[in-house]
């Protein structure tokens, strides 16, 4: 391999990470370093928690063949409405959370049924869902706002002022728990990397070169420690981060390590071949869309907790944020390609652009223009690089 193709391959493989670094550097420079201040980093997480969760679910739908779910914004609103109304009538908060997740899942299953077993195109099914659940939210709320007063609920799921994991270590100027968690994450990462490597080497399988492994590890550890140290300087770990991390970890596992995950990729890669290999493709479609409903439920919980109320307009355009993050994060518009970490990076990129422009005081309408162009550029890149490979 020549150096040129090596460099090209590297750029192609890590495009989005490189883009994220460059964009972050750009805004750090333009905002005089304000972007990386502890409070702003915290905000990137809290403000975008719903995007991370929805994009993760959306990826599963997109993997099946570029299919999207347009209804998630409305489902977020509807689930939030149900939750707010239930908690207003003093229902136990955990019961309310359970009801919200179940409602989300049922909505997902309802749409998944039409998509998977009746073969109604996903675009149409979820467009209908988008209208239906927006309308129902309005009906239930009667056009008004219902505030969420359950303080415990807000603290556990929210992203507001007091929604942080309490520091068990009692740090005063700096949040010690946050640093401990960061360090723990690094240790776990290193442990699994080393174990994986030795096991695979013993089995005589290919492994990355030592230099590459070490460099990757150093970069990841540095990034994680920088991030957690910054958070520690503010108020510590936002609760929203915990839920996002949980969702991301679970779905990274599902997509990369389980048979269901493999089948999602297989369907997007070649549906007929997958079907002829004895795989029940309908149940895989059903899984993807039912799961999207469940995650929309979780996003609904996070949304009303952060905004401490439910309103008929909540969740508008959330579906677009999720879809955009997926495509920017390297998911293919034709399906079969994309990873959860990639999508998270896509969502982060959007988040950084958002907050960076806000700090700079760029007009909100221009922000939309920029985000739209970034999305287009990402998909153009996907399409063009695919063409070259063929």
């Amino acid at each position: 391999m020549s150096t040129k193709t090596k460099v090209l391959g590297f750029v192609q493989k890590y495009t989005m990470i490189i883009a994220l670094v460059l964009v972050t550097a750009f805004f750090t420079w333009r905002t005089g370093g304000k972007l990386l201040m502890p409070q702003n980093l915290t905000n990137i997480i809290s403000q975008n928690a719903y995007v991370f969760v929805l994009a993760t679910g959306m990826l599963l739908c997109i993997l099946t063949g570029g299919n999207i779910d347009l209804s998630v914004g409305s489902v977020v609103c509807f689930v939030g409405t149900i939750g707010a109304v239930l908690m207003r009538s003093n229902l136990n908060m955990w019961l309310a959370v359970l009801v919200m997740l179940v409602v989300g899942l049922l909505i997902g299953a309802w749409q998944a049924f039409w998509i998977a077993y009746v073969k109604v195109p996903p675009f149409i099914t979820t467009l209908a869902g988008m209208m239906v659940f927006r309308g129902l939210s309005n009906v239930v709320l009667q056009g008004k706002t219902v505030s969420v007063t359950n303080a415990k609920f807000v603290q556990i799921f929210g992203g507001g002022a007091n929604c942080y994991v309490p520091d068990f270590f009692g740090g005063t100027s700096i949040n010690i728990l946050c640093i401990v968690v960061g360090a723990l994450a690094c240790v776990l990462y290193l442990f699994f990397t080393i174990r994986n490597r030795t096991v695979r080497k013993r089995a005589g399988l290919e492994v990355d070169s030592l230099v590459k492994t070490v460099i990757t590890a150093v970069i990841i550890v540095a990034a994680v420690m920088f991030f957690t140290l910054r958070l520690a300087q503010y108020k510590g770990l936002p609760m929203a981060l915990i839920w996002v991390a949980l969702a991301v970890l679970i779905y990274t596992y599902i997509t990369s390590k389980t048979t269901v995950g493999r089948y999602l990729y297989a369907i997007g890669g070649n549906e007929t071949a997958t079907k002829l290999s004895g795989i029940n493709t309908k149940s895989i479609y059903f899984f993807a869309y039912a799961n999207m409903g469940l995650l929309a439920g979780l996003a609904g919980i996070l949304t009303i907790a952060r905004l401490t109320s439910a309103q008929p307009t909540y969740g508008q355009n959330y579906e677009m944020d999720a879809i955009g993050s997926c495509f920017i994060g390297g998911a293919s518009a034709y399906g079969g390609v994309g990873t959860v970490p990639g999508v998270i990076i896509g969502a982060l990129l959007m988040g950084v652009i958002n907050i960076g422009m806000s700090i700079m005081g760029v007009d909100a309408n221009y922000q939309k223009v920029v985000k739209g162009l970034v999305l287009l550029a990402a998909v153009i890149f996907d399409v063009v690089s695919k063409k070259q490979n063929n």
Partner: protein
């Protein structure tokens, strides 16, 4: 000296891994009907696609002389402007548009952006009359029969001011009456000076209508026969098409014991999934024994793939009836999963479309049909998966830097090996191999044959569908011949010959001939 409207000289066209056309020469006299015949994969359609500019200038070597000048066609439009119009085997009409709209699609009548509908339909009516159709040009395509649709295609070609008309299997989907009408129409056009090239498998039609017949075989021009000068009998043409000897291109099978019946099919009938009144497989009964290789011969569209796929868990067709017995017990398989669980495997003819996930690595493809074999309660054991993929890579001799390579990057032969590996790992007792060596080079073919021999040596049964007669003859213990959905012949290895099978396939009226 004869006046040639078209001369194609030294045409060579390569696809990755195969030479589809090798130094082909082809001359067509003005005002004649010239037939192009050959087995499936002989290169007929490829040659016509080169001529029409479907494969643009530069993607092949050689020259095309049309009307005395050398032509470089970069797209279909280029050749159409010169009056070369190709009518494809699959009708290219849009069902929900009218005859008139279809006829002038891409060739609209009117000014700039505004279509002149009166002119469109007036012209359409004119051309419809020429081809002998009395339908209104405002009839929707879906409302007229296939035979008339074919006539509309011809009218469409005329509307493009065709001087040289190429018809690829024009009668393959027509009944006898419609076919006759179409052939007579071609003869009528000939009188008016039109030149036609017709690709056909129906040799009786070819000898009826053609002035010259060019035979292609394996991408080479074999001979050109001229009416009145050469023998135009079907036997003579068949000899040209198949005239090959079976040498040691096929590995010998030693000591394979043919055992009891592994699979038996009785009165199997399948209807087309969309046109549900059309029988695709008609009352077929056959059996396969353990350790036996059974060949299925026939033309494309004879219903072999459809038969195989309908057996494989009803993957094709509607209204399937008949009985399927495995090891003497009747089974009802309604999904590929059930078929796999009962020890069946169907290795598709279309490895890119239906077989492999090209964008995924070898190991993913290898384990796809049996992912549970490398996973524990739904969690994949990657190390085991890679080890399995590696095992089959070595076993089948797949040439690749690693099993993490994307299948799309492999050559045809190696892709075929990955596809075989996938089904071998599913551990079937009966493998249906549909065109297992299509589009791969001779060396890789030999390796695939060796794998087939190993499979039957293990006591498995192999059903091999192939359009290449030498392959069927060289590999099969028994051969079934299918034509138009019906079983029209069965030969043992000793009885079978290329001529017999070809004659059996091409006999339009099988019953009368036998």
């Amino acid at each position: 000296m004869a006046d040639y409207i078209l001369e194609m000289r030294r045409i060579t066209k390569e696809f990755p891994g195969v030479k589809a056309l090798d130094d082909v020469n082809f001359k067509v006299e003005r005002g004649s009907i010239h037939a192009l015949v050959g087995e499936n994969g002989a290169g007929k359609s490829t040659l016509m696609n080169v001529l029409s500019g479907w494969y643009p200038y530069g993607s092949y070597t050689g020259e095309i002389i049309y009307n005395g000048e050398e032509c470089h066609f970069h797209k279909l439009k280029d050749s159409e402007e010169k009056g070369i119009v190709i009518i494809h085997q699959e009708l290219a009409l849009i069902p929900y548009m009218t005859i008139g709209e279809n006829m002038f699609l891409g060739n609209e009548r009117g000014k700039r952006f505004a279509i002149n509908w009166d002119e469109t339909h007036a012209e359409a009516t004119k051309y419809l009359k020429i081809v002998g159709l009395s339908e209104s040009s405002k009839t929707l395509i879906k409302d007229i029969g296939v035979g008339k649709q074919q006539m509309v295609e011809i009218a469409k070609a005329l509307a493009k001011n065709a001087k040289l008309m190429i018809l690829d299997e024009p009668t393959s989907s027509l009944n006898e009456e419609d076919s006759q009408a179409l052939l007579d129409l071609l003869l009528e056009f000939k009188k008016q000076g039109m030149t036609s090239i017709i690709i056909s498998h129906k040799l009786n039609e070819v000898s009826y209508v053609a002035d010259d017949i060019t035979v292609l075989r394996d991408g080479h021009t074999i001979e050109t026969l001229t009416k009145g000068k050469d023998d135009f009998s079907e036997d003579r043409i068949i000899r040209g098409m198949v005239g090959r000897s079976i040498d040691d291109r096929f590995p010998k099978r030693h000591d394979v014991k043919v055992g009891e019946i592994a699979l038996e099919v009785k009165n199997w009938t399948v209807y087309h999934p969309i046109y549900s009144d059309q029988k695709v497989v008609d009352d077929v009964s056959f059996h396969v024994r353990k350790g036996e290789v059974v060949g299925f011969s026939g033309l494309m569209g004879a219903g072999r793939t459809e038969l195989a796929m309908s057996l494989f868990g009803h993957s094709y067709g509607t209204g399937i009836s008949g009985q399927l017995f495995l090891n003497g017990k009747e089974v009802h398989l309604h999904s590929p999963r059930q078929a796999i669980d009962h020890g069946l495997a169907y290795v598709t003819e279309d490895r890119k479309g239906n077989g492999l996930i090209l964008s995924n690595p070898i190991y993913v493809n290898t384990t796809l049909a049996n992912l549970n074999g490398v996973s524990n309660r739904g969690v994949i054991n990657f190390d085991k998966e890679l080890a399995v993929a590696e095992e089959y890579r070595v076993k089948l001799g797949t040439k690749t830097p690693s099993v993490q390579q994307n299948v799309g990057n492999l050559s045809g032969g190696n892709q075929q090996k990955v596809l075989l590996a996938k089904w071998m790992y599913a551990d079937p007792d009966i493998l249906i191999l549909d065109e297992p060596t299509r589009g791969i080079d001779v060396g890789a073919k030999y390796e695939i044959y060796c794998i087939i021999n190993e499979l039957v040596a293990e006591g498995k049964s192999v059903i091999m569908i192939s359009s290449e007669l030498p392959e069927v003859l060289g590999m099969s213990d028994r051969i079934y011949v299918l034509n138009e959905g019906r079983l029209v012949g069965e030969f043992t290895r000793d009885e079978a010959s290329q001529e017999k099978i070809m004659a059996c396939i091409l006999a339009t009226d099988t019953a009368a001939k036998e």
